[in-house]
């Protein structure tokens, strides 16, 4: 009943930005529920729904993304009726072809982790750079060497890793809906049989990458080996390299083969899944592990990269 009243308020005309901010701040849970409900409805109508926690979390996550966009975009649409505006944003989003990266296997904890991380990488430069570590185990130095970046771009990569380590990873994991228990469970599997987890990730990653590569500009196609060689030789297209290689395994293999001579660490481009962010150094890593990853909880040790660049 209370929600209905709030939704009625949201349907009323809002004339100023301050009024919009106030109203939306008061009704955030209702807005989230509304957007999650619409997402659930979309999934049901397209035959992609199952009554389990994975699907519920998926609906909530996409509801959150939509409300976040609505909160920022709505300020420039005042005067407006907030609920109608949210519905229009949702309708626009779901009217796109394949708006969500959906596959039943992606509702598992590992699937949600990979999907959420890649989805975040599309929106965040920090997450995009961190993807090289989470999927292949490249540290910041490895990324710089692999992409052949100049001093300014290298500096940026180091900052990306730093921000991801400090706040980005934790925030992303929370927004994905991964609980500490789920992470720990994955880590147990990884410690017991790392090959198995990597193989499962190897199976899921292509479908995730294929979906999220849509967010690349149209002029970012897959290149031939010769074109990659030209790109590295002439040293241009940093943006393209960072974007595309993080989201395309085949091109990553090409680029790695070309850049192999310049790399100090030849780890290959086999999937080497890392669930936690790269730690700063050995001492810091040790402290981090002893403290339980900064979360105040005990957990199995994260595999520490030897490259603490």
């Amino acid at each position: 009943m209370a929600q209905r009243v709030d939704l009625a308020n949201l349907s009323a005309l809002v004339s100023t930005v301050e009024e919009f901010d106030r109203l939306t701040a008061d009704t955030l849970p209702d807005l989230l529920d509304h957007a999650a409900g619409q997402t659930r409805r979309y999934l049901r109508e397209t035959g992609q729904w199952a009554d389990d926690i994975g699907h519920e979390k998926l609906a909530l996550r996409w509801g959150y993304e939509l409300v976040e966009r609505f909160l920022v975009c709505g300020r420039s649409e005042v005067p407006c009726r907030p609920l109608f505006l949210l519905d229009s944003l949702i309708a626009k989003f779901f009217s796109q072809p394949n708006p969500l990266c959906y596959h039943k296997d992606l509702c598992s904890p590992l699937g949600r982790f990979l999907d959420g991380l890649t989805s975040r990488a599309v929106l965040s430069r920090d997450a995009l750079t961190a993807l090289y570590y989470h999927l292949y185990g490249f540290g910041q130095g490895g990324v710089v060497q692999l992409l052949g970046l100049g001093p300014a771009e290298s500096q940026r990569v180091y900052k990306n890793f730093e921000r991801w380590r400090r706040t980005g990873w934790q925030r992303a994991v929370t927004e994905i809906g991964m609980t500490e228990a789920e992470l720990r469970e994955l880590e147990i599997i990884q410690n017991r049989d790392p090959q198995r987890l990597n193989q499962e990730a190897d199976r899921l990653i292509p479908m995730v990458q294929e979906h999220y590569r849509r967010s690349e500009p149209e002029h970012f196609p897959c290149l031939s080996r010769r074109q990659w060689e030209d790109l590295f030789h002439h040293g241009y297209g940093y943006d393209y390299q960072v974007w595309h290689l993080a989201l395309c395994r085949d091109c990553m293999a090409e680029a790695y083969a070309i850049r192999l001579d310049g790399l100090t660490e030849t780890r290959g481009v086999q999937i080497d899944l890392h669930l936690r962010p790269l730690l700063k150094g050995r001492v810091a890593s040790f402290l981090w592990v002893q403290r339980g990853g900064g979360n105040g909880t005990e957990r199995p040790a994260q595999r520490i990269s030897t490259a603490s660049r």
């Binding site: 920022v72 927004e175 609980t179 500009p217």
Partner: protein, 374 residues
């Protein structure tokens, strides 16, 4: 139960993240801002070095939504663009701002996003100083006689005089300022003059800013006009193409019409020929009918009696009757009654005569009462 708890906890996390969003947006260091157009990342605005940064893109489809995200993924700005027309917006990112301008046409969209860092105190001072310098320089620049006027003696002299007067005034002001600085004239009037000068400086600085904005607006207008020209030229080209296509279509249609007329004429002539032919056929048919009728009318039944020589076999008799297409009747005392159809110009007499010449015929009579010789 545990799952419900997990879900409500997750929901609570998300609500809290949404609640924190405006604060994060304000506190966030932009780093390199990513610009998304229609959900595609089209470039980054480098905001780390303190200067302005610009991203512009022009594409073959209208711009529907733009999003600006910091390096950590915080949504700093988002805008749903109008279908057609120009739209501008300003998004605050921490103390800085991003200015966005979108120009949408039916088949084209252009975006210009500019990062404007917050102006520090030192930068403000520097800006006022440069404006003042420009204001001091300006009278000297204005004193130059206008081209086209200088060669005329009267105007030239007036210009020279006014330039001299202005130069003297500026000199007086400079001396006045110098004297003020050295402290020789410390009166109330000097302080008032100083205030007035500061006010003038402010006005001049404002004027310079206004002029810069006017120039900017003129440039924008020029760009718009150029864009409009291009759109008009494109529309003109399209209409020309359409006209050409229409002309081609018209010529094809006219040739088709001529063909159709020719075919119609042929059909007409064929129809006329067919009509004539059918008339002829009808005439011929009627003639054939008439001839048939006449032929039918000309056939007459003729009955006679015939006797045969003794010993003539029945088979020979039958063959003869069949040979003359006769119909055999009753036999009375050796006389066979036979009926035949005689057609024109054959007469009963000639028929009987020809029959008598047959070898097996003994006698022929047309009436049973007549004698054998008849």
């Amino acid at each position: 139960m545990e799952q419900n708890g997990q879900l409500s906890g997750y929901r609570q996390h998300l609500v809290e993240a949404l609640r924190q969003h405006p604060r994060r947006r304000y506190r966030e260091e932009p780093g390199s801002l990513q610009v998304f157009v229609n959900q595609e990342c089209i470039g980054t605005l480098d905001c780390g070095w303190g200067g302005t940064s610009l991203v512009s893109v022009s594409q073959d489809k209208p711009i529907r939504v733009i999003e600006l995200r910091t390096a950590s993924g915080v949504l700093a700005g988002s805008l749903c663009a109008r279908d057609i027309g120009v739209q501008t917006a300003r998004f605050p990112v921490g103390p800085h701002a991003i200015e966005v301008s979108i120009c949408n046409q039916l088949d084209r969209g252009t975006l210009r996003a500019e990062f404007r860092p917050a102006v520090s105190f030192i930068q403000r001072v520097r800006r006022v100083a440069s404006a003042t310098l420009a204001a001091v320089r300006r009278p000297g620049w204005m004193m130059r006689p206008l081209p086209g006027i200088a060669h005329r003696t009267g105007w030239g002299r007036a210009a020279v005089l006014s330039q001299t007067a202005l130069a003297l005034a500026v000199l007086f002001l400079v001396v006045d300022r110098l004297a003020d600085r050295t402290g020789t004239w410390k009166t109330v009037t000097t302080s008032a003059a100083e205030k007035a000068f500061v006010r003038q400086e402010h006005r001049l600085a404002k004027l310079v800013e206004q002029q810069a904005s006017v120039i900017q607006a003129i440039k924008v207008q020029q760009r718009d006009v150029a864009r409009l020209d291009r759109a008009v030229a494109a529309a003109d080209r399209q209409s020309r193409k359409r006209h050409e296509a229409e002309a081609l279509l018209l010529s094809r249609l006219s040739s088709e019409a001529a063909d159709r007329e020719r075919m119609w004429n042929e059909i007409q002539s064929l129809t006329a020929a067919k009509e004539a032919l059918s008339k002829d056929v009808a005439v011929l048919e009627s003639r054939a009918v008439v001839a048939e009728a006449r032929r039918e009318n000309s056939v007459q039944p003729f009955r006679f009696w015939v006797s045969f020589h003794d010993g003539t076999s029945d088979k020979s008799i039958e063959e003869l009757i069949q040979g003359i297409h006769g119909r055999k009747g009753p036999v009375d005392a050796g006389w066979y009654s036979v009926e035949v159809n005689l057609s024109q110009p054959q007469s009963p007499a000639t028929f009987v005569e020809s029959l008598r010449k047959t070898k097996i015929v003994k006698a022929v009579k047309t009436n049973l009462t007549t004698t054998q010789g008849q």
